[in-house]
């Protein structure tokens, strides 16, 4: 069985905190680990898996990448790409007979107006993340939020998801500000001089319960805690963070996944690694359950009601029929400890509480013709 991995080279992501390494292989290592897991299982089923890694140059042509995978006979592809490149890949003629797993892009449009029949999403959407956080803040009875948004387009989209979540779960955004100061750099700015005086200014205004920050790239968010105008907690993309995966989780057998990953990659598993792991494991799970390797058998099973994947979050994960999104619990992670897991108790749903996170069937704007 061939599984493709499609990505473009990027500048390494340099976190503000020295506790986090500069990772150049995020996503890819998750796919590699799941491949090893699939192969261990495959031994008993006489199935074997190979990962075809197609990492294009920074400005590499997506069409050529898809074609190269198709030429090798790959039909299941883990796409570790931002939204525009993902859509470009999914719309290639060769991709019509492929199934792509979006293991990276959290964009809500991909689950709505821009949805595609040949994409399943193992990465959570921004709305799922924001809803997960909002449920926790509602449970805490911290309803007044101040929203601080960074300059990247992704930050604007994250902030939109936060506003929507506030409406859904009873939060009130008492103030909104944009981060207009410099972005940080861990080598040249320790934060104790300029940043220390910038942040009180940036967070002044009406009082609130929680400062919600939208800074997906991690340009400034990690500087906030301990420097805000009011002595209030930070949540969102930094601080109390809603995420699909974090090193702080070792519940539900997570210890094993974390230690297997660290042995393989020499660093902690991130949300991006986890989404790629889910994608490759989904293919393995479908092949094991159907005892088949044919594309039609496997995609039918992946889209069907019987598919269930154990993802170390205490309950089975599956794909939503209406938009191809993997439903999954979302961790509320602190910098050093797991704080909570959403959905929170008491947020009810007629089918599964997991569907209180993100776009539920009635509100989805995705119209698929599979």
């Amino acid at each position: 069985m061939l599984i493709g991995y499609l990505a473009r080279q990027e500048d390494p992501r340099t976190p503000l905190s020295f506790l986090e390494p500069v990772a150049t292989d995020e996503g890819l290592q998750g796919a590699r680990l799941a491949l090893a897991d699939n192969n261990t299982t495959g031994v008993f089923l006489k199935q074997s898996y190979r990962l075809v890694e197609q990492v294009l140059p920074q400005d590499g042509d997506i069409a050529a990448g898809v074609k190269a995978l198709a030429d090798e006979g790959v039909r299941f592809v883990v796409a570790d790409l931002p939204a525009d490149a993902l859509l470009a890949a999914a719309d290639q003629p060769e991709a019509k007979s492929m199934l792509l797993f979006n293991a990276r892009a959290t964009d809500d449009a991909l689950r709505n107006e821009q949805c595609r029949a040949n994409i399943l999403h193992t990465a959570p959407s921004r709305r799922m993340l924001a809803d997960a956080l909002a449920q926790y803040l509602a449970w805490k009875k911290w309803p007044r939020w101040s929203l601080l948004t960074g300059r990247d387009p992704g930050d604007t989209l994250y902030a939109e998801a936060v506003r929507r979540a506030a409406k859904r779960f009873g939060g009130k955004i008492v103030a909104e500000k944009s981060w207009t100061f410099d972005t940080g750099n861990r080598r040249t700015d320790t934060g104790v001089t300029t940043i220390q005086s910038d942040i009180p200014l940036a967070t002044q205004g009406p009082d609130y319960d929680v400062l919600v920050v939208a800074d997906e790239a991690g340009d400034f968010g990690d500087y906030l805690d301990g420097r805000t105008w009011y002595p209030r907690p930070v949540a969102g993309t930094q601080g109390l963070t809603a995420t699909a995966w974090s090193r702080v989780n070792e519940q539900w057998g997570g210890t094993q996944l974390q230690s297997r990953f660290e042995k393989l990659a020499g660093r902690w598993m991130t949300q991006r690694d986890y989404a790629a792991w889910l994608a490759v494991r989904s293919v393995g799970e479908a092949a094991a359950r159907t005892n088949a390797t044919g594309f039609g058998d496997l995609t039918g099973y992946l889209h069907g009601p019987d598919f269930e994947l154990a993802g170390f979050k205490g309950e089975a994960l599956s794909f939503r029929a209406w938009d191809g999104q993997m439903r999954q619990p979302i961790l509320i992670a602190g910098p050093r400890m797991l704080v909570s897991v959403s959905p929170q108790e008491g947020f009810l749903h007629p089918v599964t509480p997991l569907d209180t996170l993100g776009d539920d069937a009635p509100e989805s704007k995705c119209r698929l013709n599979r």
Binding site: T40, T41, G253, E308, L309, A310, E315, A316
Partner: protein, 324 residues
Amino acid sequence: MRFLLSCTLLLLAGPVLVAEPVLAETIFVSNEKDNQIAVVDGDSLQIKNKIKVGRRPRGITLSADGTQLYVCVGDDNRIDVVDIASGKIVHTLPSGPDPELFVLSPDGKKLYVANENDNMVTVIDVADRKAIGNIQVGVEPEGMGISPDGKILVNTSETTNMAHFIDTEKHSVVGNVLVDSRPRVARFTDDGKQVWVSSEIGGTVSVIDAAALKVIKKIRFEVTGVRREAIQAVGIQMTKDGKRAFVALGPANRIAEIDTDSFEVKRYFLVGQRVWNLAFSPDEKRLYTTNGISNDLSVIDLERNKVIKSIPVGGAPWGIVVKP
């Protein structure tokens, strides 16, 4: 009058106390958070002792002669052997990395240990205190069951989702049966014909025909007011007559009783929070359960079908074994 009555009661109570059987069972519970084994007297249902063991004790079983306890201490990568009379660790066994569950061969000579981190089952010679073999299995081996004749070992792997049937003479896998997500416990029926495997995420028990290596029945559970995701099957026990089976349902805080002929669920017992494992009293009139979140042991009276008591035993009780 009142004085007379209490005197009579005392007189009546006296001989009854003396006549109390002195051979009541002892219950041993591994507390994974406290790194202790709680020793509970089955007669008074009081804690008699707490034995300090290695870090994160989970799997626990009795030696064949009933004088020792074997305890998997996962975070110390070994098995502690506890002398019951003195309550002390007398030696350790080399289990391989991160042992969680194990099973003793019916002749008491070998321990088969699941190494969760290494996709491996380790075979230990108990007398020689040596690992004498290992068997490659699926991802995250967990549950261990052995046939009454000791010839077939069943191991479950939590991420591969299989029950691996292993020939104990050749140390090789002879068959694999796919079950629902995250299989935890495997248990042979006493006649050796079936293996029952619980699936935590799947929330089911698969009944496997041990000769045909086929799932012949999938038992599902439904508890009013409990969401499906919270029903997570873990520990399994069956009465010696083979008629009643009991399954712990984890965060559903219930024990399900199953009729082994019809495979129908007959009733649910409400026990403590996150129930992991269970064990009978030697006369099978009681069932004891370990409740990981409420930190207690529930006592079920199986004649009256009632939960009669809960005993606080310490931090995160997990494994349980009863010594007659």
